[in-house]
Amino acid sequence: MGRIQETFLDLEKLKKKALVGYIVSGDPDVSSTLNAMQLMVKGGVHVIELGIAFSDPMAEGPSIQQGHERALKNKISLQETLGLVKSFREDDDKTPIVLMGYMNTFEALGSKVFSSTAKENGVDGILIVDMPIEESVEFTEQTKKHGIDIIRLVAPTTSESRIKKICKQASGYVYYISLKGITGANSINVDEVKNKVLKLRELTELPVVIGFGIKDGSTASSVKDLADGIVVGSTLVDIMGGNKEEIEKHLSIKINDLSRALN
């Protein structure tokens, strides 16, 4: 059983919700990312999504765009991130790691090289934002071969028939985008999310997490009962971009707040 599946099964037994935390790999540098990952796990994050910096992150709001820019200043690459995952695995063989990014950087490394190295180094899943099911034949084949999950997105605009098609190709978990917009947006509408996620859960056996627009304990608790977990990104990336001395403190406070809201 893979780490993602195991983590969600364990949480289900405990009747707990998953806290999925997103930060950008290499933001502001690789060692800060490694520290933050360990701190996140200690504070109660169950799944780590590592953003792969891209020069043109089309789906991101200002917070995460700046995270990508900070990481690129130090010329972080996908290959280096794979090294970072390997380092993280020296002390943690349990927490699932999902790499989230854009097609072009993954393709530059190549689906074959990427998939085999990623598996070897302890990556569990990928989420490529600009790779809808129609454009993912090659990556699906390679990741499947190496037992890496492809996390799929479902949006408020996705029709029921399309959700079915997407879920057929999904593995690991399904990521529901809570709003029409970019990461960090402010307009989450709980009733709309509820209707859509209820439908989605009828159509898939996989765990469903809700992301985009969840910033703190109160937004987290407003949607937590609808799904198996929530994703928090922009607010963590803001902390990573702040004063370096205070990253640990702010990260702990934030994750504590989110963890409590989920229990």
Partner: protein, 401 residues
């Protein structure tokens, strides 16, 4: 040679290996709807006559095919004809596309228009049709381009549109396009995104090509009636590639007509400071399409440079990528200085001041025409007029206006 019975793009939006729909899931349904609606609406009689009417009465089509007699003689080779898109309302070919897309937007029930712009010509062309139809309009423009195309920024504002300055990334056209996409994903219910070139996810490369094809269709007729033969060579500058695609498309099956696209060579291909993905780039995915890109070996998009803001883009329309690979069209470059020289030469010799983008195509004609004989015909697309570039040129000459 491309065949008529093989439709490009295919239903997935592919031109060979290029094109496609590489976007976030939220936009997939919107693009599917656009593709479906476009296929239906474009065949609608009423729609066709509305577009035709606007092209005639609002844009001023057909644009003349002008024989550049003095310039041809001076270069001493082929006969050079200029397709005068500079005479269109708002001063460039960009209006051919916006006139069509806004009618499409209205039929789809959209009430708000957004666009990205580099040189500002597409911004002006979009703001113009938005004013004409009384629709709300927002134009995204990189901070760098706002500085160098201030005249067009002001025009867009007078036309009643809002200009939003984009200061992420390289602060030019590609970043404006990112920001327009972010707007669209947020306001997808009521907003129509008018992309300004044959770039972006399917069906945009097809839609923008189709609306600009009026240029090539007119050249077909004008060549027959006014020259008495088909051109031996068509030349156009290539940024995203819409003026080139509009000229080339109706000629794809005429094998005796050569097609050459001219990219921005900037300070020279060897300096890395250029905007010539077809000449010096590699395959990748950006802005919803698979195409040739300027990128490093890690897949990060590189900063581009060109004297012409409208060519300053690291990607290119997927149909050009395909035409290059199958060898139907050839792509070359002209650098900043060559473009500047051609800009001045055409102004002096023919009394026609071209846009700096167009000047890249002219620079190639300058080199090529002397090697051809006087029975041969070159048609070059004068994609726009140079008024917007006066500040840039004066700056280079050290003149303050």
């Amino acid at each position: 040679m491309p065949k008529k019975d093989k439709k490009v793009p295919d239903s997935q939006g592919r031109f060979g290996a290029y094109g496609g729909v590489y976007v976030a899931e939220t936009l997939v349904p919107a693009l599917e709807e656009l593709a479906q609606q476009y296929e239906l609406i474009k065949e609608n009689k009423e729609f066709k006559s509305e577009v035709q009417n606007d092209l005639e009465k609002f844009v001023g089509r057909p644009s003349p095919l002008y024989f550049a007699k003095r310039w041809s003689k001076q270069l001493g080779g082929a006969k050079i004809y200029l397709k005068r898109e500079d005479l269109n309302h708002t001063g460039a070919h960009k209006i051919n596309n916006t006139v069509g897309q806004i009618l499409l937007a209205k039929r789809m029930g959209k009430t708000r228009i957004i666009a990205e712009t580099g040189a500002g010509q597409h911004g002006v062309a979009t703001a113009t049709v938005a004013a004409r139809h009384g629709m709300k309009c927002v134009v995204y423009m990189g901070e760098e381009d706002i500085k160098r195309q201030s005249l067009n920024v002001y025009r867009i504002k007078i036309l009643g549109a809002e200009v939003i300055s984009v200061n992420s990334g390289s602060k030019t056209l590609k970043d404006a396009m990112n920001e327009a996409m972010r707007d669209w994903v947020t306001n997808v219910d009521d907003t129509y995104y008018i992309i300004g070139s044959v770039a972006g996810p399917h069906p945009y490369p097809q839609i923008v090509r189709d609306f600009n094809s009026v240029v090539g269709k007119e050249v077909l007729v004008q060549s027959k009636e006014e020259i008495g033969k088909m051109p031996d060579l068509l030349v156009a500058c290539v940024g995203g590639g819409s003026n080139a695609m509009g000229l080339f498309y109706p000629f794809l099956e005429i094998s005796t007509t050569d097609l050459v696209g001219v990219e921005a060579g900037g300070l020279g291909l060897d300096t890395g400071k250029h905007a010539a993905p077809l000449n010096a780039g590699s395959e990748g995915v950006l802005h919803g399409m698979r195409t040739y890109l300027m990128q490093d070996d890690k897949g990060q998009i590189q900063d581009t440079h060109s004297i012409a803001a409208g060519l300053d883009y690291p990607g290119v329309g997927p149909e050009h990528a395909w035409l290059k690979d199958i060898g139907r069209a050839n792509y070359t470059t002209a650098n900043d200085q060559e473009a500047l020289d051609a800009f001045k030469e055409l102004t002096l010799v023919e009394g026609i001041m071209p846009a700096l983008e167009t000047a890249h195509a002219l620079a190639y004609v300058k080199k090529k025409a002397p090697s051809m004989d006087s029975e041969q015909v070159i048609v070059v697309n004068v994609s726009g007029r140079g008024d917007k570039d006066i500040n840039t040129v004066a700056n280079i000459e050290g003149i303050e206006l």
